[in-house]
Amino acid sequence: MLYVDIEKKLDSFTLKASFKVDGEVTALFGPSGAGKSITLKCIAGIEKPDSGVIQLNGRTLFDSSQHIDLQPQKRKVGYLFQEYALFPNMTVNGNIEAGMRTLKKSDRIAKTAELTERFRLNGLEDKRPSTLSGGEQQRVALARMFASQPEVILLDEPFASLDILLKAELIPYIKDIINNFGGESILVSHDVDEVLTMCERVTEIASGVTERTVTTEEFKSKMKVIYERAGLDIGRFNDHER
């Protein structure tokens, strides 16, 4: 279980994120600049909250009152960056192996082969990230993230830089991967369709403040009302099934 209750003063607002994720896929839903990515960065240890607590499966990752602030290296948090953040000077295999530096070389090679197979990267092993398509880059980033054996995975707008056709192809694929992961997953998104298709629970965030976490059904009803009021097409709210 991931428990987050943090505050951090930012330039335009104070981030007040409070929610928990227990085995399910949770969406952190909100408009651009609402504080979604910074929340993920606080969980991963890339940014430091001013105060609060972050716990993961009984381990305290951050607790301001006890002066605990685990390094990102020790948190076991997998992070899929928006632009994937693949190491440009390393090959596909080099990137994947970077996620498991602590393993013995023979284990690393075996695990890399397994991940290459699982993420359909065969034939791309020796290529540099800059020569790959957006979808291939995303699969490398996913393989690298899983190589580090995270306990929770954070996906920061994973489809934001992909065109609509590729996105349509990748959504079911990534949904499968997340469902097979078994641990906690947080998907940051400002896209209602993505959230309804991929997530079980939704935590909305606006101006840095999170609301009560709701089920996707509740979220769907709320969105339907908002869309109806705005005179938008509500067909989408009848089609989604998880």
Partner: protein, 221 residues
């Protein structure tokens, strides 16, 4: 033609370039992480030799390293080593004058680095030193190499501070730049022009290397 000045200039420039390579990179990396006010102050200190007349740098170094000054006196009395008027004394002068070039070029290269790569590395469990040597430096490689080559070129031509701290002794401390001055002063134009041409040729080749590196860097985006 005695080629000692060329040999001496090359070794002084090479040693100084190696020193400022490491000091400049470390300064650029660590200063970028300091709070804004301290960063501003350190940035001025590390850039100052770029705008100060080299003679001022030489004078300040003499105040520190001269045989009757604190550091110079200590080395002379305790270790019987005179820090000035040796061929290697020029390394102090050249390193200080050239350091801003390496520091600012490395800083520029580091500023273009995508910090998400370092963050990704940390979430993957990579150590900070691994991230620095295997991800950050390779990413900034072209800019850093260009800085090192530029530093070497500038080191090769340093005159003001070098002449004050190492002087001009033929066969001992003479460099290309101090030799040119001495040859002109003594009316030996024929030899002076030879050294001038050698200096221009070396500098042109070095600058050509810098341009090539920068072009590769831009292409890489």
């Amino acid at each position: 033609m005695d080629l000692f000045p060329l040999f001496n200039s090359l070794r002084i420039a090479a040693i100084s370039a190696v020193i400022v390579f490491f000091v400049g990179i470390a300064a650029a990396y660590y200063i970028a992480k300091t709070p804004r006010v301290i960063k501003g102050i350190l940035d001025v200190i590390f850039t100052l030799p770029l705008v100060l007349p080299p003679t001022v740098v030489g004078y300040l170094l003499l105040l520190l390293l001269g045989p009757k000054r604190p550091v110079g006196e200590f080395f002379l009395e305790k270790l019987n080593v005179r820090l000035t008027m040796q061929w290697w004394s020029a390394v102090f002068a050249v390193s200080v004058v050239v350091l801003p070039l390496m520091y600012r070029t490395a800083r520029g290269a580091f500023e273009r680095f995508d910090e998400n790569l370092a963050s990704a590395g940390r979430t993957l469990g990579l150590s900070n030193s691994y991230i620095f040597w295997r991800i950050r430096l390779p990413y900034c490689r072209q800019g850093i190499i260009a800085g090192a080559v530029l530093s070497f070129a500038r080191a090769l031509g340093e005159y003001g501070a070098t002449s004050m701290i190492a002087g001009y002794t033929p066969g001992k401390t003479a460099t290309v730049s101090t030799a040119v001055y001495q040859l002109w002063r003594t009316g030996n134009d024929e030899l002076a022009i030879k050294w001038v041409l050698i200096n221009i040729a070396i500098s042109a080749v070095v600058l050509l290397c810098v341009n090539l590196l920068e072009r590769t860097d831009r292409r890489r985006g």
